[in-house]
């Protein structure tokens, strides 16, 4: 329940403010708290969890459980975006191999979820925050990958829908159709035929 101001940046024409606040990577997101920038989304999420620690803790309290959560968030960070890009923006052999790896990655995550309502157990937590934004891209993955995520990973899709019942999630995520339009534009710019 932290109040914040959202500034949309044009990633093809980055603002001076963005370049000043994140000179190393020149990327969004950048959280600016009392004038001080925090870059890298998972670093920012941990920062938020530590500063506003009395509200809805995202990381568990025990060190081993925290390590477990950090491990899986790191896995999601390293794999889901890059493999997803191969599904939506690559062609031919790279696309086919990327799609196979991507499905395996989702299945691994589904296995880790098991029968729990959330990756955080009974409560929505750090790993859920790390993964659920990719749900916005599921439409794009399915359209350009030509497969059904629900058929491959039904429990994962059920989890995503459960998360979307939470206002904090549904209000933060872009609409799936808008993401498909955006990816279609990017594919045209990059010369990828569908």
């Amino acid at each position: 329940g932290v109040k914040y101001e959202h500034k949309e940046d044009d990633l093809w024409n980055k603002s001076d403010l963005l370049l000043k606040l994140n000179p190393v990577h020149k990327k969004i997101p950048v959280l600016v708290h009392n004038g001080k920038p925090v870059c890298e989304s998972l670093v920012a999420v941990q920062y938020i969890d530590e500063v506003w620690k009395d509200r809805s803790p995202l990381l568990p309290s025990r060190p081993f459980d925290r390590a477990h959560a950090r491990f899986w968030a790191d896995y999601i960070d390293q794999k889901v975006y890059q493999l997803g890009k191969k599904v939506t923006r690559a062609k031919g052999v790279v696309h086919e191999a990327g799609k196979k790896e991507f499905i395996e990655c989702l299945k691994l995550l589904e296995g880790e979820l098991g029968d729990r309502p959330y990756f955080g157990g009974d409560t929505f937590g750090y790993v859920d925050v790390a993964l659920v934004p990719f749900y916005s891209r599921f439409g794009a993955y399915e359209t350009f990958g030509n497969f059904s995520i629900e058929a491959e990973c039904p429990k994962l899709v059920a989890w995503a829908k459960r998360c979307m019942d939470r206002e904090s999630v549904s209000k933060s995520l872009p609409d799936q159709r808008k993401v498909i339009e955006h990816v279609t534009r990017v594919r045209k710019l990059e010369g990828v035929e569908s």
């Binding site: 708290h33 925090v38 870059c39 920062y47 060190p63 390590a67 491990f71």
Partner: protein, 221 residues
């Protein structure tokens, strides 16, 4: 308070494995080191890290933790003693940012620049110099990434502080000279003098020999 059966699956020549040993020794934790043959991984390793099948893996009272930076934070949270991460949330965020940058951008770029073929050299060296310039800027007016004392970033930067020099020596190359990168060179000098670090590094001659053997193995294959 932590209680104890601590094992580390690692490899003596790996900077990632060494990071974890450094953190454990800083806290004074007793542990059993198990050297893994990376060409023939043990069932224990494959069982403890089925996702990545890589070292290092810390096993504490039977429970495994993988990924060196995750392990280091676990060590800091479990055992008292030397503070590896700062207490202030903003400073922690800054430390995590730099540790991530080292792992995701620096090490791969430097490693590629050292080991790539002649054809790829120009592009890879340019990328490596790019990341080194960023580090040079961050280290200006600082003894260590952590300021006057080392923190998690310096533990993560052992490739910069030590391995990078060793690998270059083994390969007979020099990617970053002292004139262009004075702060980096100063960092490398201070790194191997720092009492919290120098005792935990593998012996230099042995490490140079290890990489020289790798060079010979790749050139004769």
């Amino acid at each position: 308070m932590a209680n104890e059966e601590v094992k580390l699956l690692g490899a003596w020549a790996s900077p990632f494995s060494c990071r974890v040993e450094n953190a454990l020794k800083l806290k004074g934790v007793k542990y059993e080191f198990i050297e893994e043959d990376l060409q023939n991984k043990s069932p224990l390793l494959l069982q403890s890290n089925p996702v990545h099948k890589k070292i290092p893996v810390l096993i504490h009272n039977g429970k495994p933790i993988a990924e060196s930076l995750v392990i280091i934070e676990y060590i800091d949270e479990t055992w008292d003693g030397y503070p590896i991460l700062p207490k202030d949330p903003y400073e922690r965020a800054v430390a995590r940012f730099w540790a991530k940058f080292l792992d995701e951008k620096c090490l791969p770029a430097l490693w590629k620049a050292c080991w790539c073929t002649e054809e790829e050299k120009e592009k890879n060296v340019e990328e490596a110099l790019g990341v080194l310039k960023i580090l040079e800027n961050e280290l200006k007016n600082k003894k260590f990434f952590g300021g006057n004392t080392i923190n998690m970033v310096d533990i993560a930067a052992n490739f910069i502080g030590y391995w990078f020099g060793v690998v270059q020596e083994a390969l007979g190359i020099k990617l970053a000279n002292a004139e262009s990168f004075p702060a980096l060179h100063n960092y490398m000098n201070e790194y191997v003098k720092c009492s919290h670090i120098k005792e935990h590094l593998p012996p230099r001659e042995k490490l140079v020999g290890f990489f020289r053997a790798r060079v010979q193995a790749t050139s004769s294959s």
